[in-house]
Amino acid sequence: MTTRAESSRPVSEVLGVPPAAHKVRDRSFVLLLGALTSVALIVLAVLLIDTAIDGVPQLSLSFLTSFPSAFPAKAGIESAITGTLWLMGVVTFVIVPLGVASALYLEEFADNSRWWNRIIEVNIQNLAAVPSIVYGILGLAYIVRGPLSLGRTVLAGGLTLALVVLPVVIITGREALRAVPPSIKEGALALGATRWQAIWRQILPASIPGIATGVILSISRAIGETAPLILVGAATFVAFNPTGLDSPFTALPLQIFSWISQPNDQFRMLAAAAIIVLLVLLVLLNAVAIRLRNRYQQRW
């Protein structure tokens, strides 16, 4: 009904004239950011497409259910998949209790004014940044040989990988515990709960989604680790599934590594197919982690 009243005065007279350079600079900055972001995305896309072109035709049920072979047409990744699953089982079994216990100690019990607790903290931060091959050397010297002398077994490989990701589990576990507000602990203690009851029945349950997210992300890192497994001497040609913790094994990244180093182009196609399987596993794990986080995340 009522139309906008005609301005009696021109805009520029009221608000002033904007400098022309401002608009140009604004635009070009946004363009620059977009270009830089697309560099990363383009590289990723090229890699994925290239892998998919090579690998997708090789994917089949028989590829997933065959053992490695000298003949590319018969070769598959069943032993690599089962080996990876066994390894992840060992890793999970080790990192959950050790990681949670360490995080609990550092967050709830350690007295920060003591020098040894500060040393532990700094060391855990640093260990998270140590290259995984260093853990491989450690695993070779102390787990495969040396004091533990486990040999080139599933258990030795799993323990080595657990060492690689343990610092990350501890750090994310501490963050998850710290995310529980102190008022929850106060509330429990004020009801006459002991310190242990407050931690075990309130703080720990409240931080489980965060801890679980950290564990899953750590496992998805461990799944792709190749260097430490090469050092601890995992085999690359294993034509059987692991039968137990003391069994020799191979794993997906090792199988990929081995096929890529073959001169025969056919094997490189197989490597591409195995990469796709590994990527799918990783995406699945990350999806579970994100879902956990979104579903149970507590807004305090």
Partner: protein
């Protein structure tokens, strides 16, 4: 022996000039022989009027320091049984610090140091053989911000009775606690829902119900309404009136009107502004029946505060 009216020995008068106090780190000098001497239950001062028989708490020269600097100095008062006692004063005056001595919540702060004596039904709360967990089973606490556990309404209430190993039907205990906090009708159909889905006022009443579920003797409330709207505040104040039939209540509030509305006795604290943040020291200025504190304060600082001249 506590509350023995017949003994009026002036030597045990806990009053002392604040200026003459020694280093706050020292335990107040009580002659060894008099450590358990009867404390006269009479008004021992013009401004500290605590002629109370059977007090639930007695604070004697209570001082709390964080690190080296004292936060509250020399608080002596008696808290009556089955009444509501309000601690008022400007922020930083140490009223919350003092209330946290009554259930030993200050133990959780490593740097906190408590000097002086707090007696609970005559028992020295900071005595060597006292277990702070045991103390908190008898003395419940409600905090400034509602802090329900991230669990169901039912589990929130059941936690306390469970850790205390209370016998009997848990369903009954939960229902009874919710009824006492007049929350039962609001939530009886959604006991399994997460407590975070409740309104702020309901959450705070849930925290009160949670504290009541363990049948405490005392309820300490540390500014329980400061995060709530006026209607929720009114409901909690009504609730306090009902509760004082069965429990003794100490409430910290910076809301003078609230203290005037709900409390039987009021203690007014003040903060001595020092040269720096660390040098701020809280002190008890005046204590007595609420209507007297608000209508006829004896100390000029109390008068200025309750009449709204500062704070």
């Amino acid at each position: 022996m506590v509350g023995d009216v017949s003994d009026l020995d002036p030597a045990s008068d806990p009053r002392e000039e604040p200026a003459s106090r020694g280093v706050p780190g020292q335990v107040p000098a009580v002659p060894a022989g008099q450590a358990h001497a009867p404390i006269p239950a009479v008004a021992h001062d013009d401004v500290i009027d605590d002629a109370i028989e059977n007090p639930v708490f007695i604070a004697e020269k209570l001082s709390v320091s964080y690190g080296i600097s004292p936060a509250v100095l020399d608080v002596s008062l008696r808290v009556p049984e089955k009444q509501i006692t309000a601690f008022i004063g400007p922020s930083g005056c140490g009223k919350s610090t003092i209330i946290r001595c009554f259930n030993r919540m200050n133990d959780l702060i490593p740097a906190a140091r408590v000097d002086g004596i707090v007696r609970y039904h005559g028992l020295d709360l900071y005595g060597g053989e006292i277990d702070s967990v045991q103390v908190r089973k008898r003395i419940g606490m409600v905090f400034q911000k509602p802090n329900p556990f991230p669990k169901s309404i039912y589990d929130n209430i059941a936690f306390g009775p469970k850790v205390l190993g209370m016998k009997g039907s848990m369903d009954q205990i939960v229902e009874q606690a919710l009824r006492r906090a007049s929350l039962w009708d609001d939530v009886k159909d959604r006991l399994k829902d997460n407590a975070f889905g409740m309104s702020g006022g309901q959450q705070q009443r849930l925290c009160i119900a949670r504290a009541l579920a363990t049948n405490p003797d005392v309820l300490l409330m540390d500014e329980p309404c400061s995060a709530l709207d006026p209607i929720s505040t009114g409901r909690i104040e009504d609730l306090m009136h009902e509760l004082k039939e069965t429990v003794s209540i100490v409430i910290v509030t910076h809301n003078m009107q609230q203290a005037a509305r709900v409390s039987d006795r009021t203690a007014f604290f003040i903060v001595d502004m020092g040269s720096s943040e660390e040098a701020r020291i809280g002190r008890l200025v005046e204590y007595g029946p609420t209507d007297r504190i608000f209508t006829n304060p004896h100390d000029i600082r109390t008068e200025e505060y309750v009449s709204g001249k500062f704070g």
